[in-house]
C-alpha cells in the first residue's frame, strides 16, 4: 500500500507532419508559422536553416521554445484542463493538468516537414494508492463522498512518466 504518496505525471505529446487529428494539425501549422516569424530575431543574417544549427550557434535561440509556445496556448486551453490521449482503464480521459511546457524538437525555415514539436503536460497531484499488476490505482484529491474515495486505474505507457513524487 502506498496510501501516502502524491505523484505528478508528465505526458509528452509529440507532434510532427504526420499528424492526422485536427487539433494536432492546428498545433503543427500554427507553431511552424510562429517559428518562422520569431526565428528571424535570432537569425538576422539568415545563416542557419535548421533549429538545431541555430541553437548550437546562438544559444539565446533556446528562448524560441517559450516564444513559439504562444501559438500552442490557445489549443491547449481548448483541452479544458484534461490531458489528451491518456485514458483510464474505462477508456475515459481523466488526468487534470494546469501546467505544460512546449518544446521545439526540430524545425527548419526551408523545410516544413522537419518541424516537430512536443507538448509536455504536467498533471496536478494525484494520490497513488496502490499498484495492481501493471496498473496504478490513483485518485484525484477531493474526489470523494464521505469516507469513500473515487479512484482511477490506468497503465503506464509510452511517453507517460511519473514526473515528481512526494511522500506524506
Amino acid at each position: 500500500m502506498m496510501q501516502n504518496t502524491l505523484i505528478r505525471l508528465c505526458y509528452r505529446k509529440v507532434i510532427n507532419n504526420q499528424a492526422t487529428k485536427p487539433w494536432e494539425q492546428y498545433v503543427f501549422e500554427d507553431t511552424y508559422k510562429e517559428f518562422l516569424l520569431q526565428v528571424q530575431f535570432y537569425n538576422q543574417e539568415k545563416i542557419y536553416t535548421s533549429f538545431g544549427e541555430l541553437v548550437a550557434q546562438a544559444p539565446a535561440a533556446e528562448q524560441l521554445h517559450f516564444l513559439v509556445s504562444a501559438a500552442a496556448v490557445g489549443y491547449i486551453k481548448q483541452l479544458q484542463g484534461k490531458v489528451p490521449d491518456i485514458a483510464n482503464s474505462l477508456g475515459r480521459l481523466f488526468l487534470p493538468f494546469e501546467n505544460f511546457r512546449f518544446e521545439i524538437i526540430n524545425s527548419d525555415i526551408r523545410d516544413r516537414s522537419k518541424h516537430q514539436v512536443a507538448i509536455n503536460f504536467y498533471t496536478d497531484q494525484l494520490v497513488w494508492h496502490e499498484t495492481i499488476g501493471y496498473q496504478l490505482l490513483v485518485s484525484v484529491p477531493g474526489k470523494q463522498e464521505g469516507d469513500e474515495t473515487f479512484t482511477e486505474l490506468f497503465s503506464l505507457q509510452p511517453y507517460l512518466s511519473i514526473y515528481s513524487i512526494k511522500k506524506l
Partner: protein, 249 residues
C-alpha cells in the same frame, strides 16, 4: 536571467560560439513512438470486450467526441498584454512609417512588443527543461497587433519596471504583412517620468530609481534621439506612450 543577459549583450550574442545544451532529452526518444510498452504484469484480464487491457497495450480513449478544436490565433495576438501583472496603467501607441514610401503610414504591418514587469522580469521559461508553467498566464507583457490604415497599433499594459544595467525600455519587432522581419528596435523612456513612477508608485515599484541612464545605456547611448518616446499622464491616471518607428518596407 538568460534573456536579460542576451539583451544586455545585444545582438553580439548571436555571434557567440558555444555548445548549446540542446534538448538532448527531446531528440532521443522522438523517433520511437510505438510498440515500446513494457508492461510486466502477470494479471490476466478476463474481459472480452474491446478496450480491455491485456498487459502489453493500453486503452484508447472511448468518449463522446469533442471538445472540437477551432483555429485559434497565437496568444500573443492581443491588445491587452497585462495578463496577471500589476502596475501603473500604461497605454502604448506606436505608429509605423515606411521610409520607402515617403515616410507614409504603413498599414497591415505586424508589430510585436515585449517589456519587463514592475520588478524587471520578462515572461520566459525559467531554469532547466524540467520546469513547467501554468498555461493561462505564461506570456505576460508580450503582444502582437497589426497596424491600421494610419500605421497605428495600441496596447494596454503596465508601466515597465527596470533591471540592473539597462535603462527602462520596450522591445519592438516589426514585420511586413507576410511575416518578413523589417526591423528590431527598442523604445526609450523620458527619465523624469521614470523617476516619478519609480519613486511615488512605490506600492508597485519597490526598487527606487533606475540604475542606468539613457545616456549610459549601451543600446540607447548612440541613438537616443530616434528611440526616445513621448510619455504623458500621471501615476493616478496612468501614462500614455506615443512613438513613431520608421521602417523600410
Amino acid at each position: 536571467m538568460e534573456r536579460k543577459h542576451f539583451f544586455k549583450n545585444g545582438l553580439a550574442a548571436l555571434g557567440l560560439m558555444a555548445l548549446a545544451p540542446l534538448a538532448n532529452s527531446c531528440k532521443k526518444d522522438s523517433e520511437e513512438l510505438s510498440g515500446t510498452t513494457t508492461g510486466t504484469g502477470t494479471g490476466t484480464s478476463t474481459g472480452t470486450g474491446t478496450g480491455t487491457t491485456t498487459g502489453s497495450c493500453t486503452v484508447s480513449p472511448t468518449e463522446t467526441e469533442g471538445p472540437f478544436p477551432t483555429k485559434t490565433p497565437s496568444s500573443l495576438v492581443t491588445g491587452d498584454i497585462r495578463s496577471d501583472r500589476t502596475g501603473v496603467p500604461f497605454t502604448i501607441k506606436i505608429t509605423i512609417n515606411n521610409q520607402s514610401n515617403s515616410c507614409a503610414a504603413l498599414s497591415g504591418a505586424i508589430v510585436d512588443i515585449w517589456h519587463c514587469d514592475k520588478d524587471g522580469n520578462y515572461s520566459e521559461y525559467g531554469g532547466t527543461g524540467m520546469q513547467s508553467t501554468n498555461y493561462t498566464s505564461v506570456h505576460f507583457l508580450r503582444g502582437r497587433q497589426t497596424t491600421d490604415s494610419s500605421g497605428l497599433v495600441q496596447f494596454t499594459s503596465i508601466f515597465p519596471g527596470w533591471y540592473s544595467g539597462r535603462a527602462p525600455h520596450i522591445h519592438v519587432h516589426v514585420y511586413n504583412a507576410s511575416g518578413k522581419s523589417l526591423l528590431v528596435t527598442q523604445i526609450a523612456f523620458p527619465t523624469d517620468v521614470c523617476n516619478t513612477v519609480y519613486t511615488t508608485a512605490t506600492n508597485y515599484y519597490t526598487k527606487g530609481k533606475q540604475d542606468t541612464s539613457n545616456a549610459s545605456d549601451n543600446v540607447f547611448s548612440d541613438s537616443l534621439a530616434t528611440e526616445l518616446a513621448t510619455v504623458t499622464g500621471s501615476v493616478s491616471a496612468g501614462y500614455t506612450l506615443t512613438h513613431v518607428v520608421t521602417v523600410a518596407a
